[in-house]
């Protein structure tokens, strides 16, 4: 048996994911494209804390208590951990529909709409579902080709649909969604505490020192204090306010997105169907709910186009293989109309070809054997 060895770099799925995210550490880290403000956040936090440890802590440890710097270190570590966790994790991105699923949905839509006369505007693509006696409209996402689940929204900055989309936070360099909302909240909460802590002990330090050596001398000895106080003062208003706002949202089980849009503002007797009507229960659900797994298989290995005979054990080393057959039974062609966004048009009618979203594997479609299922296509292993 001639096994042609292809020495190739393993391609992981994150390299082929659509959307405008950047990935690091071979797919382990996932962030938005613009990271400038995130670096600013890091700089401010690390810078201010360094100044605090350098100028205030030696004095306070000696004159007041050594517990003060210890607690500051713990808080700082917690803040950094929460920040990095929020920034680097998958917020709950919904993968785009593979061609067969997109076709299936299109057929459903056309069946639901019936015959639309040429020139007439087709009805908007909306599905109504009833959740807890409340009608919720599910919108169709033209980019991802899915009906968005309730509370999901499409982030235009990251170009992904995110489940339980809260907002896109440039300070954190990522979207805030179902999977990282609690880390985001804990970040803002702990940062508020850290800011208040540093601010308070800066004042204490200045007062204590001024009693000994006078105010002007104190400033001369510890110039860092001025900077710290400035940064903390401005941070306090914004971060503490933000924490308060999110505490309010959590107690009502709402997202920032819903709050801005006024989805559950009470007009027309519209109520929030997701709220348990109990502050404690709402908080528990958001903060102590289960840790949802990522449905984006970033580190799964993609099967390359095979140019050698593919024994089944070649694919068994991969984490997952993909049962995308290149051809399916012909389905109704997708009919673009004047309401189809331009970016969706090239994809329509090319449903069986590789789209950016479908993990590419196996041979390209061959016109002579339209129903071929290549060996090894069937999924052998689970996620």
């Amino acid at each position: 048996m001639s096994a042609v060895m292809i020495s190739r770099k393993v391609t992981r799925k994150w390299e082929k994911l659509p959307g405008k995210n950047t990935f690091c550490c071979d797919g382990r880290v996932m962030m938005a494209r613009q990271k400038g403000v995130f670096y600013l956040t890091l700089f401010l936090i690390i810078g201010t804390c360094s100044l605090f440890f350098a100028f205030e802590c030696p004095y306070l440890a000696v004159h007041l208590s050594p517990a003060i710097p210890v607690f500051a270190v713990l808080l700082f570590v917690f803040v950094m951990a929460m920040l990095l966790r929020t920034s680097f994790s998958d917020p709950g991105v919904l993968p785009r529909a593979l061609p067969e699923e997109a076709n299936f949905i299109e057929m459903e839509i056309e069946a639901a709409n019936g015959n639309v006369l040429a020139g007439q505007r087709p009805p908007p693509r909306i599905k109504n579902v009833q959740i807890n006696n409340q009608i919720v409209k599910l919108k169709y996402c033209y980019t991802c080709k899915i009906f968005r689940p309730p509370r999901a929204s499409h982030c235009s900055i990251c170009d992904n649909c995110v489940d339980r989309f809260d907002h896109h936070c440039p300070w954190v360099g990522n979207c805030v969604g179902k999977r990282n909302y609690r880390y985001f909240y804990l970040f803002t909460l702990s940062l508020s505490l850290l800011t208040i802590y540093i601010f308070a002990f800066d004042i204490v330090h200045v007062v204590l020192r001024s009693v000994d050596s006078g105010f002007v001398n104190t400033i001369k000895e510890t110039p860092g204090t001025v900077l710290e106080v400035l940064v903390c003062f401005f941070t306090l208003w914004s971060v503490v306010g933000l924490t308060g706002f999110h505490t309010y949202l959590i107690s009502l089980n709402q997202t920032t997105n819903e709050d801005i849009k006024g989805s559950w503002s009470g007009k027309n007797r519209v109520q929030n169907p997701y709220s348990h009507k109990n502050i404690f229960k709402n908080c528990c659900e958001v903060l102590c709910g289960p840790a949802y797994p990522s449905v984006l298989d970033r580190r799964g290995v993609m099967l390359e186009d095979l140019s050698s005979p593919a024994p089944s054990d070649a694919s068994s080393t991969n984490k997952s293989s993909n049962p995308v057959s290149q051809t399916t039974k012909s389905s109704a062609p997708l009919i673009p109309n004047e309401h189809t966004p331009d970016e969706a048009k090239p994809g329509i009618g090319a449903g069986t070809q590789k789209s950016a979203s479908s993990p590419k594997d196996e041979k390209p479609p061959s016109p002579t054997s339209p129903n071929a299922v290549t060996p090894g296509v069937i999924k052998e292993s689970a996620h």
Binding site: V77, V136, G289, P293, K319, N371, A382, H383
Partner: protein, 173 residues
């Protein structure tokens, strides 16, 4: 749960089995993908992961309604177990928070454990029930938990059969 008959002659007696697929391996080699059916999410209970148990008409001639509904209901139960908010999830959440979520580097979350159970269950269902009927269920996790994708296969006509009691191909993890 009805298990698949072992021999080809037994299989031809199945009311819903036009083709006699022996196991997943044969399905792969001698069948061609005809269609895919997508079972959508059921949002009536909110955003929890739950799939519709409505029987799709495309599977009418392929599998018994009760078997299908059993599969979907069991999957729904698994997901409900994973997403249950109760004592264990609080404990897990608080413990994780205290360790700055580093504990997740060492232990698996409850959700991940249940997902593994689900994938084993789907594998078992495929082997025992769906593959003999020329169907294949894809784990919803691979479709973003949006749909249960059921692939419908049709015999190409060349089901050369050794009596297929061999175990199914290994799930290379």
């Amino acid at each position: 749960m009805i298990s698949a008959p072992r021999t080809a002659t037994d299989r031809t007696k199945l009311p819903y089995c036009h083709e006699s697929f022996h196991n997943l391996q044969e399905l792969r080699h001698s069948a061609s993908l005809a269609n895919k059916v997508f079972i959508q999410r059921d949002y009536t209970d909110g955003t929890i992961c739950k799939f519709q148990t409505k029987f799709p008409s495309e599977l009418d001639s392929r599998i018994e309604r009760t078997l299908f509904e059993d599969t979907v209901k069991t999957l729904n139960n698994y997901y409900a177990e994973a997403e249950k908010i109760g004592g264990q999830s609080y404990l897990e959440g608080c413990l994780a928070c205290l360790t700055v979520y580093l504990i997740f580097l060492c232990i698996e979350t409850r959700y991940e454990k249940v997902l593994k159970k689900i994938s084993r269950y789907i594998q078992e269902q495929n082997e025992k029930i769906y593959a003999p009927r020329g169907l294949l269920i894809t784990d919803p996790l691979e479709r973003g938990m949006r749909v249960i994708e059921i692939s419908v296969y049709e015999d190409r006509g060349s089901s050369g059969s050794s009596s297929g009691s061999s175990t199914t191909s290994s799930s290379g993890r």
